[in-house]
Symmetry: C2
Subunit: 90 residues, 2 copies
């Protein structure tokens, strides 16, 4: 089984998240009181060729920095499942 990668991308805590604010208002309008701090981020999944775990982690981290996230305004973490599990930076 090819390793499966899950990447989680979210705007950094200080950054305004208009989509999150819109969802928060919509939830309140629907009657869900007290929902706070809604953040809408990305959940990206894919399969990668297997191999050395440390090398794979480094490769996925590079993919995140180069394409999947914008490290200036977003934070990301990832995990690789399949050929052992690992967790990237929070």
């Amino acid at each position: 089984m090819s390793p499966r990668v899950e990447v989680f991308v979210q705007l950094k805590p200080g950054m305004l998240d208009p989509q999150g604010a819109a969802v928060e208002h919509a939830l309140a309008d629907l009657g869900y009181e007290g929902v706070e701090g809604v953040r809408v981020g990305k959940w990206i999944t894919f399969e990668v060729p297997g191999g050395d775990t440390a090398a794979l982690d480094a490769r996925v981290d590079e993919m995140c920095r180069r394409l999947l996230a914008n490290p200036v305004i977003e934070r990301y973490r990832f995990r690789v499942v399949g050929d052992g599990a690992s967790e990237g930076p929070a």
Copy 2:
């Protein structure tokens, strides 16, 4: 501490995911060979008022069905952390 909810939303397996296809091509263009099955979904996080765990689960599941996901074309799962952990339907 208020329970923290994480919701994961993704297009159902049969549904075309153009954003995922675009990311897959971009990764290949950057030299990341062999990346397959890219799916770009949503990762939504928020805090909710605490309370009975089963009731909270039901409430979050309802939020997903009514607003956070489109059950016709998307699947979702969620977990509640803080006041005990639980996991919604896959």
